[in-house]
Subunit: 133 residues, 2 copies
DNA sequence: ATGCACCCTGTAGCAGCTACAGGGTCAAGA
DNA sequence: TCTTGACCCTGTAGCTGCTACAGGGTGCAT
């Protein structure tokens, strides 16, 4: 039997976050003690660990939900899970590419700044409106 | 004179977004027509262009605000602007590194999946709780 | 009995928009 | 002139994924 605080420490999750997961239906409502405290068991620990690892890998909560329901069905073909993971990987790669493009632009902008006053600053100029001289 | 819709098309910004920027004080309140429509001028176009370019480069709104007030002071030394841009670049680089680590983990997880049922799936296993066999 | 750490519910806040609901305005066409 | 339709107005609520209260109750040690 774990209290919410113990479960939180075991999974590196804030107490409020656990209650939030319960509220949105990601964690089942646990049984309660006489004093109305939430009482968690091993299954809850497993489920929350799963959620936290998936989150740490960047899966959004709705994908975590999908992964959870897929993985509950132990006899099913795991192709769908593989697909979800691949889709997520593709998204991560897209984000990396976007950020790399951003980095190039930022670096070029910073390089162009030769100091001086704001009026002469290339950074400000680069951010300003397209001028039709 | 531009209506809010025209300004939006000129800067690729949604009308609601422009009103939002006004609400949070990023854009000044424009004058109004007889019919109470917002009436924008060249200065507004310039300012909104600046905001949108900075946003496209990933600057959060509070940094955009700082950049705007710095760049209003044309005679000032542009070192602070340069610093803000460099800080932002550093953040982008940190994000790229984080995502690259994520990508490695995801790719390794996906590689390990040899198909079969969910019960055998390495992805599910990798996400599951640490087992003390 | 008293203090303290923990637990409870419910609500509001963060970024940065986006999407209504429920109206008013304006120009063009019949 | 009337009507249609595209636009505009305000105000408020929703999105993600938490996080932070306020205002209470519980449980254990001293």
């Amino acid at each position: 039997m774990l209290t919410i605080g113990e479960l939180g420490r075991a999974t590196e999750t804030g107490v409020e976050t656990i209650r939030y997961y319960e509220r949105i239906g990601l964690l089942p409502r646990p049984s309660r003690t006489g004093g109305n405290y939430r009482a968690y068991g091993e299954a809850d620990l497993g489920r929350l660990s799963f959620i936290r690892r998936a989150r740490a890998l960047g899966f959004p909560l709705d994908r975590v939900r999908a992964l959870l329901s897929l993985s509950d069905d132990r006899g099913r073909d795991c192709a769908t899970i593989d697909l979800l993971a691949r889709e997520h990987l593709a998204e991560v790669e897209r984000k990396i590419a976007d950020l790399a493009a951003l980095r190039r632009e930022l670096a070029a902008m910073i390089d162009s700044c030769g100091g001086g006053t704001v009026a002469q600053c290339r950074i400000v100029e680069a951010l300003g409106p397209a001028r039709r001289d």
